[in-house]
Symmetry: C4
Subunit: 507 residues, 4 copies
């Protein structure tokens, strides 16, 4: 299925009235993108539970369906005979949803949205997106595991590392290009894989493809994209390079098909996710989901898939928790693409990856979305690189990190330590969600501007000049937990008073 307006589904024969009769678990029809499907038999198999389908039994499910299923899903998984054909959409009763007060407020906020030009850094996009995205979409993107400690640590870990810049270096010409798995890129970051792009933008991941092309950086295509894999490949321009992030299916034949199809479509790197044998509990996401359908779940029922687990849990049940080192040779046997492990978190596993002949690793904790109080990528990097150098292994493998990167200074710190490049995910998602392609474009441009500036200020005209001595990492691996405060004492005394307090506040 293709969203090109020129190929919009033809007006069909099926009427809304007819379809509306099939509104129960005995007979359940739904409309998706102007076509009707009989999903009665599929109900018990739906990874997201049957309740969510039954909510749309006899109705148009397109809006809810779209962000969480690539358009080719029904073609792939529903037998042909269940495809009932095109619907005459004029006969389908449009549900006039009462706009909730919350949604109205959101629409107001969208109208008052700051101009793109006042986003001066990547965090600004997050600040805007938080206000203009749907609550559930924001919850899915922004949430992380348990208490979200690792998610917050990911960013603040960079602040444990300080610069020792060189002065009086000729920095007139800054060249921040580098190569990643042999591909020349303009700046040492890539767009890392993030799921369900259409939650933030109706066009989904192809927007990122366009942004990556404009700035000559690599895009890693997610397994759990809202667009289909082929749509994202099709969006590629010129010699643009893409990688594939892979969740390994329990059914290795499916995995094999995906991998070999990817290679055939010109994908230049296979990043096997190894930190997610099961997708994490993200309570913020779960809470939102619950609220969302709160009124429907009062009564007990037989739906034994707990939808309150959030979107990601529902759609990830295929992932194989038995994936292990012994699978690596098999991957090497089915593809010639470079193989990298995404989500490695200790030096012992980096050494093992070298031993197994992997081409690279991404030191990552999955954006803080899996194991809480797992360490940040930048900290693991500070553990890994000295040991690799000690053993002369630093060139045997390409090391990437992701998680928490918001500033060019973050990128520079990773490269000084020895990373080949960094992956950036959420910030581009939020830029896309708030401002679409122009947002992604500006976000990438801001990073480039910061990067030129900061390479000048650290005294490094090229990426090769970024060396470990440019950092002070004395506190990089420490974790400081504040002594819980002595509330009594702090509340007994006055704060100091300044002349400030004699003046009216400035807004």
């Amino acid at each position: 299925m293709n969203r090109d307006p020129a190929e919009r589904p033809e007006v069909g024969d099926l009427t809304g009235e007819e379809i509306a009769k099939h509104n129960s678990s005995e007979s359940c029809w739904v409309i998706v993108n102007g076509k009707a499907y009989d999903v009665t038999e599929f109900l018990p198999e739906h990874p997201g539970g049957q309740k969510i389908i039954l909510k749309y039994a006899g109705k148009d499910a397109t809006e809810e369906y779209s962000p969480v299923h690539p358009p080719d899903t029904l073609d792939k998984y529903l037998p042909r005979e269940k495809h009932l054909g095109a619907v005459n959409m004029t006969t389908v009763e449009q549900e006039t949803k009462e706009e909730s007060p919350e949604e109205k407020a959101r629409q107001e906020r969208i109208k008052a949205m700051p101009k793109l030009e006042v986003c001066y850094n990547l965090m600004d996009f997050e600040a805007v997106a938080r206000h203009v995205m749907k609550k559930t979409a924001w919850a899915y993107y922004s949430s992380a595991a348990d208490d979200e400690i690792t998610m917050r640590e990911n960013h603040s870990a960079f602040h444990k590392i300080w610069f020792r810049p060189k002065v009086l270096v000729d920095v007139e010409n800054i060249d921040m290009s580098t190569t990643m798995l042999g591909t020349k890129v303009d700046i040492p970051f890539y767009v890392t894989a993030t799921a369900l792009g259409k939650l933030g933008n109706p066009e989904g991941e192809v927007v990122l493809t366009r942004g990556a092309h404009k700035h000559n950086v690599i895009q890693m295509i997610p397994t759990l994209a809202s667009c289909s894999f082929d749509e994202i490949c099709d969006e590629r321009k010129g010699d643009q390079v893409q990688w594939l992030q892979l969740y390994v299916n329990k059914d290795r034949e499916i995995t094999k098909k995906i991998v070999q199809h990817a290679e055939a479509r010109g994908i230049k790197g296979l990043f096997i996710t190894v930190d997610a044998p099961q997708l994490g509990r993200r309570e913020k996401d779960m809470r939102t989901k619950f609220d969302d359908t709160g009124s429907n779940v009062q009564n007990t029922n037989n739906d034994n898939v707990d939808r309150s687990q959030g979107a990601a849990r529902a759609i990830s049940s295929f992932i194989d928790p038995a994936l292990s080192w012994k699978d690596i040779p098999w991957f090497q046997s089915i593809t010639k693409m470079p193989i990298l492990l995404k989500g490695v978190q200790r030096v012992e596993d980096v050494l093992k990856a070298i031993e197994y002949g992997c081409d690279g690793v991404v030191l990552s904790n999955h954006g803080g979305r899996q194991l809480d109080t797992a360490r940040s990528g930048i900290e693991i990097l500070a553990e890994v690189m000295p040991i690799l150098r000690e053993r002369g292994l630093q060139d045997k493998i390409e090391i990437y990190i992701d998680g928490g990167i918001r500033r060019a200074t973050d990128i520079i710190k990773a490269l000084c330590l020895g990373a080949k490049g960094v992956g950036i995910g959420r910030p581009f998602l939020f830029a896309m969600s708030a401002y679409g392609l122009p947002g992604v474009d500006r976000a990438m441009q801001l990073l480039k501007d910061e990067m030129v500036m900061n390479m000048r200020l650290i005294g490094a005209p090229t990426v090769a000049d970024l060396t470990p001595d440019m950092l002070d990492i004395g506190s990089a691996r420490s974790h400081y937990v504040n002594q819980p405060e002595d509330t009594l004492a702090l509340r007994a005394y006055d704060a100091l008073i300044t002349p400030n307090d004699m003046l009216k506040p400035r807004l």
Copy 2:
């Protein structure tokens, strides 16, 4: 006495009118659970002071009496001849207590209580319980010693320890069972002893017994339970296992009777509390108590037990502060149960426990309720285990910890360091207080769900796979106190402004 409705006290002969005459320290009768007692001579001996009894002289004291006394108390301690017999309760004037505005507000909050399903972690139960419990009950459960620094440290100490997870381990099948003192349990935690369960739930500790049975974990019965020891034993089902927490009485004969009775009733472990020669000052509890009876204590009187010390102090005067190492052999002589010391706080004492032939220790600071700025169990564990391993003593004794455990990741950290299991107390109390047995059930299930997930994410299919190298404990034993802030400087400057500030706040 037994709360089974079938055995409700028969209608008696004594009338409220008769009893009401005995309303002074000269002659003081009280009604408890439908029976009248002459407590005149007992007044000066009441550990909680006579004032609290005199408040109910000539009246029904059941509601105040019940949570702080096991039902067999009067039978045990009041001579038979003071048992006046059953009361015709229809003749007893019901005090129509004016519901206070505070109580009304609480009742409103109870009506608006979130559904159990929105409790996604153990802390959620605490958040709910705080709002729906009686103020005094909440104060008793939640309070801790002095500035409550140790209580807060107990939880945050876990955040000083970070994970070094393994990837590409086959984690399809997770087995989180283990054995504790020879008992196979489904997950490595036990329900630790906490006092006065009926403050939170009218049924008291037996609710926890039922929860523990359902999830196949061990319950440790507290000395200061609201239910009687036998009631809690009676609640056991099948081959369910219970332990006993023991406060040692100054009168060793009483202690001997308790211990031997426990062994006879099938208790599988004796945990002697060693961190409480005197029960701690808990100011939050004391303040609440004071408020509670504020209007009555204006006038000086001869009651020399200071009730403002809080509930626990009052009921614990029997505890022997002279208990010492020399008592251990005596315990070993009176019982064959395994003997463990609960509340050990330094490696020297663990070594001594091994020397004295103890079967285990619980590294614990009594939930922060005793000595403030005592270290957390997890920190003591990080001190103890390397020394035990160095001396080859790690298998001579079972090491448990308790305090601050809220997440499966906390349990995993303790096991990686070398603990056999962990005790969890307050969270189940709060789950029980807010939601009864279903709350306890869900709390335990949440821990199991988290545990499966997190053992997968750390790459450990069984408890035996949890090893010290899976942790980064570089900061585990450090205590960081913030430099008190430079208030002047911080208040002179502006905070940065984000596009956020241009938008209306999202609720």
Copy 3:
């Protein structure tokens, strides 16, 4: 002069009308405690500046005069012929001061003052005093140097030190008595010297004398007391022991007189203040002072003493900044009292004090009122004691600390490290200011109660059992300054939501 009502000044001959004529710098008479004085010639010599005197020219100055001058000041410093004699106070016009809204509010707060019984720890007295004291008095007592970093550090430094308690020690009988300079005391603290007691309580320092007697602890008499030295000595009962804190006068003859008079009056220890060659700038105090007389200082004038420096600066100009080690032998030559140095702040100076034959030192930063970012006494103690022990000098000298002590646990930490005792100042001042002698009594009793409890909990039946191994001082000498927060990032994201947020707040 003596406040005994029996000795009230007799009705005199001088009339208010007569005195009111002498209301200028040409002829300036003032009334103090019912007697008139001609201070015209004294005006330029007044350490606090002449403006403050001229404000009361021709009037009754008693209220302002009293807290900052011991009653014998005029007798000592004003020539006999300037003493004009008793005034017929009925003829003196009473200034009906319009009560300011602030003062009215304070009077309201005093009426609503919490009962003494709800003060459960020393900090509670500070919390109450802050609300019921006069603003200027609170500012004087509570203020400290510069940004008050050291003042706050003094208390929080104790939280860097954690306990390693012993269990199974027989702690039935706790003996917390010790000796200080040969005097047996009930508990190892003394009431340290603090200036201007009448700012908080009209009776001044004698209230502390009475409290110290009741609890058998030593009181250190301050040079800058509101009461006269002799009044405070006179208040002594039985064999009560007092020490003297000494600011050394530029005129050594005056100092000699003070020291020898003190010895004659039975003072048992001479504590020479060495951390205050000049009294510190306390901005909170200065700001309050400025406000106070704001309307009067608009016009320039010849008063070259800057009163905006606060009370302490004004009254301390006599202190000799040239005091040095070479003066120590001189002190030893004029008195047989033990000589101790108060305000030592580094181990080198402790060693020097031993060399010079001093009997003790107080490791102190003057309550944070002198040099900001000076270290806390407890931290200096952690530096000093290991070096003394290494050199076998630990018994050559008695080491005390003061500053920030609020809990018995703080005292215990100091004693474990090796201090002989600790000085406590502000807490008793605040207890006295809020509640008078009963406040001081309760404050001391609370410390005793905490001390018994905590010695039990740490496993030390006597002061001699408090040893260094009972502490974990790994973080004691570290100073952690928070990385200034990344405001953008923190403000972009949502806080997590708990079920808490679904309920109405509990007050």
Copy 4:
């Protein structure tokens, strides 16, 4: 041009009406200080972009022009034939700017401005200036790079260093004078270079010249001053000493002219800025700028200079990013002034500066305005000095630091570590912006008062007595990032309640 009223521009022949015709990019005349200029051809070359000029085409631009251009700019850079001559200003229509509500509020705040006497420390001036300065001016002065982490670190870094004061040193006479590059100064700080002084005060940098003279300290003249270099030199009195801060121009001839002119005018030190090959991104400044002209930039246009980069970026395009060590000998060849490098940030570069024969370095991160998470000057000093001493190089070069200094204790810490002196910038700018010369005077006097006091309190009668052993620098080089807080847990529990909470708040 000279602002002396006696030399006000004569009444000219040109009329406002005539000039107003030239109001487009085709023909663009502007009035500056009563004279008209034809800037049509200059438009594309204007470093700040043409849009800002066109805003004033045909009008009087003096108010906007003045702070960002020294008065001799037009004479220097605009050909003589474009100088159109004096304007009859009575014929120029005065734009009656509607005073914005924000400006009105600011004027109100100015009226309520606290008296100078209540500024008790340098931070107080910042607190006042923040309220009374124009928003754009405040933003320019107060802003820093990226997240402003380094700016905040600059000040708080001093709080990682604690004092070890000596007692019993004769500190009657304090001499805090020292020499800097051979010049005797009264106190070891100099007024460091800061740009665009007229944003804060219409007279600009000469106010600082006067203040520096009064207190006998050195002023460093900034390249980007609002006053002309010669004006600032002319303001010098007696043997007052000035230094020059130099941004090196891409055109070395211009640089040579500047340097040699400076030497000719008697400048005693040349401080070459080496930390700013490009001026930093200061988002606070950029955001303000954007707001300011928000309504004008809606439409796209050909102005390819992005004014939203803020003032500094616009005016700094001449700075040469190719400046390198090889330029140092050239500087040495064109001047005999001592040559110092301002902005050195690592010991390796200090050693190199010695090697190249530089006379000194300023350890500085440009007030946090360049590279964020660069280390503070005081921390770099703690790295540098031990290595210099180890190699016997400590006297080969003069070491200065700047950044974050607000207290005399900060100065003392720098000197104890080994700095020759410190530069102070923003505090004097803010003092000048809020209170003019009296503000600068008081700020300097406050520092002197603090310095006398604190040298006494640390036990150092002269600058030579300030030695490294007077500091505890154990934590000086550490960077502590708080463990991101466990929001759930912290929000579930109650804070402790104090008697405080029972009283009405004191304002």
